[in-house]
């Protein structure tokens, strides 16, 4: 089975509306099972531990199968890979962050953080940009306060 075939089959299975369930012999740590049971009974995070586990597994699979498809895509088209700045802007937009309105700041921040941390993630760029923005505003406030005192 090729990676493409595996991805297509996983997607097909994830989209299946087949209501059949199956008892699995999957072994999970006892403590994890107890934690899940407590989260259900005491915190109400899901109707049952089974639903909790199935939902978590579904979301993980739905995300990772797309990431696997993107890896194949970037192998074939390396130039299609977005830059760190592209990803930071996309993340800011998706998160509804006000930083999305400052693409130049995110571009600068991505370039700066990449120089210091070559493996930085888009989330790191947002934190970096937020810190820079905060520092700049604090400096302005301080300068305005000093002018006022003078």
């Amino acid at each position: 089975m090729t990676a493409e075939e595996a991805i297509d089959r996983i997607n097909e299975l994830l989209d299946s509306t087949d209501p059949d369930t199956v008892n699995t012999s999957m072994r999970i740590p006892k403590a994890l099972r107890e934690a899940a049971a407590l989260a259900v009974s005491e915190l109400g995070v899901a109707p049952s531990a089974t639903v909790l586990a199935a939902n978590a597994l579904r979301m993980l699979l739905e995300g990772t199968v797309v990431l696997a498809a993107l890896d194949l895509h970037f192998e074939k088209y390396p130039e299609a890979r977005p830059s760190l700045a592209d990803l930071a802007i996309a993340l800011a937009e998706i998160e509804g962050s006000p930083l999305a309105q400052q693409p130049d700041l995110l571009l600068r921040s991505a370039a700066e953080i990449k120089r210091r941390h070559p493996h930085a993630e888009p989330q790191d760029v947002l934190v970096w940009a937020e810190a820079r923005e905060y520092t700049a505003q604090e400096q302005k406030r301080t300068q305005a306060g000093q002018k006022g005192a003078a």
């Binding site: 493409e4 991805i7 297509d8 997607n11 994830l14 939902n55 978590a56 979301m59 993980l60 739905e62 995300g63 990772t64 199968v65 797309v66 990431l67 498809a69 993107l70 194949l72 895509h73 074939k76 088209y77 130039e79 299609a80 890979r81 977005p82 830059s83 592209d86 990803l87 802007i89 996309a90 993340l91 937009e93 998706i94 509804g96 999305a100 888009p122």
Partner: protein, 137 residues
């Protein structure tokens, strides 16, 4: 927070064609959404059926197999959406695809809707007052 990212025709074209000048830009949204999804965050990327028709996106055609793997879900043009879209088209004069986008925006039960589009003004127009964020391609 529950998030929905919608694609217009231009976004679909950009996604399909690696040589498109905005391809890497749209791919960035697919990548970040997938990372969030894998961390159990409630986020979906979707395409209204009428947009898919306009874009020529046939899920059975081999030419679209790569895009199919990105798990972009369909928003069907069902009775309710067709009624809302018909009203939007009549009031605003936009295309059927844009009217369906408007219906999808208005029907979204998510906390946050983001549209990737080549025409931000039309998207705000078809939203008819419903809060929507727009990314201009």
């Amino acid at each position: 927070m529950n998030r929905l990212v919608l694609l217009d025709n231009e976004a679909v074209q950009a996604l399909r064609d690696p040589a498109h000048r905005k391809h890497h830009h749209v791919i960035g949204y697919v990548l970040e959404a997938a990372k969030l999804r894998a961390r159990s965050r409630a986020i979906r990327i979707a395409v209204p059926a009428a947009v898919r028709v306009e874009a020529g996106w046939d899920r059975t055609a081999p030419a679209w197999s790569s895009v199919n793997r990105f798990r972009i879900v369909d928003i069907p043009l069902d009775t309710e959406h067709a009624n809302v879209a018909a009203g939007i088209a009549k009031r605003t004069g936009v295309s059927v695809a844009d009217a369906h986008l408007g219906a999808a925006i208005r029907a979204a039960e998510t906390d946050y809707v983001l549209v990737l589009t080549s025409d931000p003004d039309d998207m705000r127009l078809v939203a008819e007052g419903k809060r929507v964020d727009v990314v201009a391609l």
